[in-house]
Symmetry: D2
Subunit: 269 residues, 4 copies
Amino acid sequence: MSEKSTSQPEAPMVDVQNQEDTRNIKIDKVGVKDIRYPITVMDKNREAQRTVASVNMYVDLPHHYKGTHMSRFIEVLSEHRNSISPQRIPVILSDMKKKLNAATAHLELSFPYFIEKTAPVSGAVSLMEYNCTLFGQQGDDGIDQTVGVSVPITTLCPCSKEISRSGAHNQRGVVKVVVRYNKFFWMEDLIHLVEKSCSCEVFSLLKRSDEKFVTEAAYDNPMFVEDVVREVAVKLLADDTFTWFSIAAENFESIHNHSAYAYIEHARQ
Amino acid sequence: MSEKSTSQPEAPMVDVQNQEDTRNIKIDKVGVKDIRYPITVMDKNREAQRTVASVNMYVDLPHHYKGTHMSRFIEVLSEHRNSISPQRIPVILSDMKKKLNAATAHLELSFPYFIEKTAPVSGAVSLMEYNCTLFGQQGDDGIDQTVGVSVPITTLCPCSKEISRSGAHNQRGVVKVVVRYNKFFWMEDLIHLVEKSCSCEVFSLLKRSDEKFVTEAAYDNPMFVEDVVREVAVKLLADDTFTWFSIAAENFESIHNHSAYAYIEHARQ
Amino acid sequence: MSEKSTSQPEAPMVDVQNQEDTRNIKIDKVGVKDIRYPITVMDKNREAQRTVASVNMYVDLPHHYKGTHMSRFIEVLSEHRNSISPQRIPVILSDMKKKLNAATAHLELSFPYFIEKTAPVSGAVSLMEYNCTLFGQQGDDGIDQTVGVSVPITTLCPCSKEISRSGAHNQRGVVKVVVRYNKFFWMEDLIHLVEKSCSCEVFSLLKRSDEKFVTEAAYDNPMFVEDVVREVAVKLLADDTFTWFSIAAENFESIHNHSAYAYIEHARQ
Amino acid sequence: MSEKSTSQPEAPMVDVQNQEDTRNIKIDKVGVKDIRYPITVMDKNREAQRTVASVNMYVDLPHHYKGTHMSRFIEVLSEHRNSISPQRIPVILSDMKKKLNAATAHLELSFPYFIEKTAPVSGAVSLMEYNCTLFGQQGDDGIDQTVGVSVPITTLCPCSKEISRSGAHNQRGVVKVVVRYNKFFWMEDLIHLVEKSCSCEVFSLLKRSDEKFVTEAAYDNPMFVEDVVREVAVKLLADDTFTWFSIAAENFESIHNHSAYAYIEHARQ
């Protein structure tokens, strides 16, 4: 241990991470995971919205380097946190590549996003939470980006309605849509598209007249989890903004202690 | 660092935990938390059931001791893991007090517990999961024990049924009941008591004839979360086994992205 | 079902919740649980900080009422969300009591809170996340309020240091402190008090010179989880702002797959 | 609603799921998600081990069918739950395809698995938990299967050791390895391979002599998260059982409130 640096600050410190590695194994991703950071996201209605993200940031590591420099990821995140949007992801990825001296960079952000909703009859206003994700990866062969939204919904079972004397089991569900795209779109519009593809949309605040409305709307519009993913697929296929998508719908069944699930993935030819 | 023990195994090692602490502050609980361990639980129908528990084990620490001996908790747990039941908790607590040389001992077990259920019309058989908890604390002034069960249920909203042209929103809920008691009872019976106090009970496996049955049963028996906790309370008050109870009912509302909640706590005079 | 309201909006709708309940059982808490909402919290250094809270809101329900009016909780939350602080909790509780026509009101807020920290040697600046909680309950006999902070820390094991030839196992831990108080204090100062009571504080961003500093600081200051809760207790006892406190310290042990835990609760006489 | 079946049980019930769908959209996966079920897993040392699994089961749904029959998944699961192993996955998948009349079947099982470990010096025996996953997918083009193990480890930072006067930060980490394979292997051996690729393995029960041993072993064997994934990769590459693998290592950094992460994925040519 005699070669260790002493506690005198002026002694030069060995950069262990920069040392050579001889195992000849490239690492696909190395970086920081599960850091929570306050961010500001571009918002359709209010210019910008402040929220809190869970963030993963990785780069590749060539086989001859022993380690990466973890602190630099946080520096990049700190620098960009006040203007997060799909449009800014390429800039952040470029900064990561430059600062970490890497060939590829990966960035994953997940955050609650709030939209003001108006109850269908009373007009009462409240905020609904949607979990959103931004993902980007940049290598030598260009950039790959996705945007994801998780949308809570109501579904009412067509089979239960059909076979039962009265009523029908219904439940909260969640639809997670992830898209690749070739031009700008608002997350708000993607969320809205999903909310138009279920038995009824969900609200934070409903007065009695609204509760009557959503109960009847769901009963008049029974949908399996299979119907939900197909309805969303039909709408996404009709909009050539979206070049690829995955749709996962999950029902927290009211009659079971597990979920019903359906999933579609599609790449436009 | 010269006073450190060397790497020679025969050198006596200082017992730091046994050293004196001079801050004069007693610690209420010290021990191990969130350890997962396989256990065998007494079962009403099959003698014994093997499952996996999350376990917390604590003792008190008098002000003059610096630390406790964490490994001894695991030794006690290993020794008793094959016969876990409310009746065995006092024995385990006594062992903890003895082994840790402590005045008070705390034990918390939480585990999934499975009961075979028969679908109401088809008779199809499947297993339902209930999360159960055993808690015990033993000090100089005797022992305090609770048993808890979490029971998934269906609730159908009376208001929604009343005001809507047809249908009614319904959802999965969960009722967590914790009891103190003065004589033996089966967790199975406590779970059954809760399942008789909601719009309809929940099953893992339902054929179409069963789905018709549970849909109509729920529609014929609308209950708020407030009704559920009151129904459970009425039944627990009628059984003098239970000297204290808390009842928490939570509805994963199908029309909202949050829960409706009700809670009652009661000590028999 | 002939007495049901029709779909004509002008038909008066029965208020089921206001109907009488004859089971003669009072409900301690009824309301909304696990709603996420954007809030603005008073901040020592920047006036205000926007974050996202998980919120529970309850009132009591007298035995003769069938149900509460869930939508009114969201109305109160929406109204107050832009000025959340311990000082505002009593105002929100009063509004809840008034709007829900209740004798007691309960409010629980839990949110990530970010503080700018400066690395000890390099001076590099980054944000650290602390989870904070505000709790309030107001009944006929006055108000009860607590403030809680969860602070990530480093602990280095005194026993491991003492008995080992070199090195000592260390790990991330978290200290959750909840306090009752008789005068104003900043959450930032409570967090700082905890960070001065462990082997070393934790940072989001550390350069190599900082890593040397925190490694050596932790090695020079070994502390059991028992030491951490006692150190925090000593500091809280010395400040008569705090009339009651609980301190829970948990170490995510680097040599085990479970946690070491210690807990102290104290009420000033 | 006149075409609805009445409540007389003998009335034939419409099979809504079997009705035709005209949207012309195939669903990739439909089924049940997040069901917990007790299972018995083949065990290297004790013949069989009972544990509790989280299970997802899906099939594809051709474009002309409206829905799948969810109850049949639970029937298949119930039938096979007492003999789960990688070797049995193909049989379960075949049953799913047959019972659901599907072209492809997917099965995902995740469960805690316990192995008896002996402390390095004292020989004290305890059980360690490892989370394991079995995944299988069978379509027209054959079967694809993976086995995954999550292994808790200790890592000690080489940079921190190098630059610090004494000590080095260390922490718990977890390595998740997923493999494809061309012949039988024991999960126990894969777990053991990972435990030999870190600064030191982790135990549930360590006496003081063991604590000295693991502290010194970790200090003598500093490894970055990058080193861990490379060491595991070197060992997996040397065993031609494994035709594909992914290795994700995550350190719950003791000096940060986030994780360090590294990932390698490799397909044998």
